[in-house]
């Protein structure tokens, strides 16, 4: 099939396919697609390596046990799936700095890594505060018509749009 080697597919095709995928995850696995819990469990597992089993006693890790679960496997699968897709189209490459970042903030690698690190901290803290991310709330929760998910998704974009204009239009 020719489409497999194309770099980009129509966003409508991709979105509809993700919609169909979410029928099957619910039907076959009784799970909806989500990602951010996996990072919380992984953070706890890494902390446990250094501080031992007492980490498991934290209230948060009593609710979200430090185990490899369905969603953890989903996230590992995503890395593999994206790698396959990128290789098929020749779009795979090791790269440090995205073009949009370079055009506004230059090609300084430590600066980009610092922004990614700080952004990641806000993202990890915020996603667990809101109890979901762009996939768990923004796609899965929104299709379940959950009030919590629609409010979260609107806030993701309200915060994101404001911060992006500051970072790439006002400061720059």
């Amino acid at each position: 099939m020719n489409g497999l080697t194309e770099i980009r597919w129509s966003p409508y095709v991709v979105g509809c396919a993700i919609g169909v995928l979410s029928w099957f995850t619910l039907l076959v696995s009784r799970h909806t697609i989500g990602c951010s819990t996996t990072f919380a469990r992984s953070a706890g597992m890494i902390e446990r390596l250094f501080r031992g089993r007492k980490v498991e006693q934290k209230a948060y890790y009593q609710e979200y046990k430090l185990v490899v679960d369905w969603q953890w496997m989903l996230v590992i699968g995503m890395i593999i799936g994206a790698f396959i897709a990128a290789r098929l189209s020749g779009d795979f490459a090791w790269r440090w700095i995205p073009d949009t970042w370079a055009s506004v903030h230059g090609g300084n690698i430590p600066l980009r890594l610092l922004s990614a690190l700080v952004g990641g901290i806000c993202l990890g803290f915020g996603s667990r505060w809101a109890d979901g991310c762009t996939s768990g709330h923004g796609i899965s929760g929104a299709m379940q018509l959950a009030v919590s998910s629609w409010i979260s998704a609107l806030c993701f974009f309200a915060g994101g749009i404001s911060a992006a204009f500051l970072l790439f239009r006002v400061i720059a």
């Binding site: 979410s22 989903l74 806000c122 993202l123």
Partner: protein, 180 residues
């Protein structure tokens, strides 16, 4: 094969498909995510709303047939609004979200690997550390539990699903007409 093991394999397979689709959709790229947040490239919104439209039909049909149960996430203003806004700030700084960063790793993005991934792990771990305090003081504010839009409006699920899809279709039409 035990159910648990087979479900782990299903999780992995579903993840491969999801990651494949995200990469083909272009959202493993910082430029596409930031383009969305700068309201110049609507790829992210198109993917998310298409998925929501198609997904909502399927899961509500299956719910009607009694094939699946839907468990909406409970929430509150104290959880979803501040958490969501902070998430948004991180989204703009990092240019990936927890799902697309996994796919971005598979695409070879080293800013995701060396900056974003440790950041998300640190941020998640910090929230876990502050969880008891935040839960006691903030998370319960404006609690709405696992409320859904149909229950809020006191109507049948389909009276929300069908108009929602109509609104999504209009948004797509407007975006295409505007050349976005």
């Amino acid at each position: 094969m035990s159910t648990k093991l087979s479900q782990m394999i299903w999780g992995l397979l579903f993840g491969v498909v999801f990651g494949f689709l995200l990469q083909k959709g272009g959202v493993t790229r910082f430029d596409v995510i930031i383009g969305q947040l700068l309201l110049e490239d609507f790829t992210v919104v198109k993917i998310m709303l298409s998925a929501v439209a198609v997904g909502s039909i399927g899961i509500h049909l299956m719910k009607g047939f009694g094939w699946v149960q839907i468990k909406p996430k409970p929430g509150s203003w104290g959880r979803n609004a501040p958490g969501g806004l902070l998430f948004g700030i991180g989204f703009a700084l990092l240019g990936y979200c927890p799902g697309t960063i996994a796919a971005a790793l598979g695409n070879g993005w080293l800013d995701a690997l060396a900056g974003g991934l440790p950041g998300i792990l640190i941020g998640s771990g910090l929230l876990a550390a502050y969880y008891p305090k935040l839960k006691a003081r903030i998370f319960h504010l404006g609690d709405y539990g696992d409320l859904t839009l149909p229950r809020l409006l006191k109507v049948n699920d389909w009276l929300v699903v069908v108009p929602l899809i109509a609104v999504i279709a209009v948004i797509f039409w407007l975006l295409e007409r505007a050349g976005l």
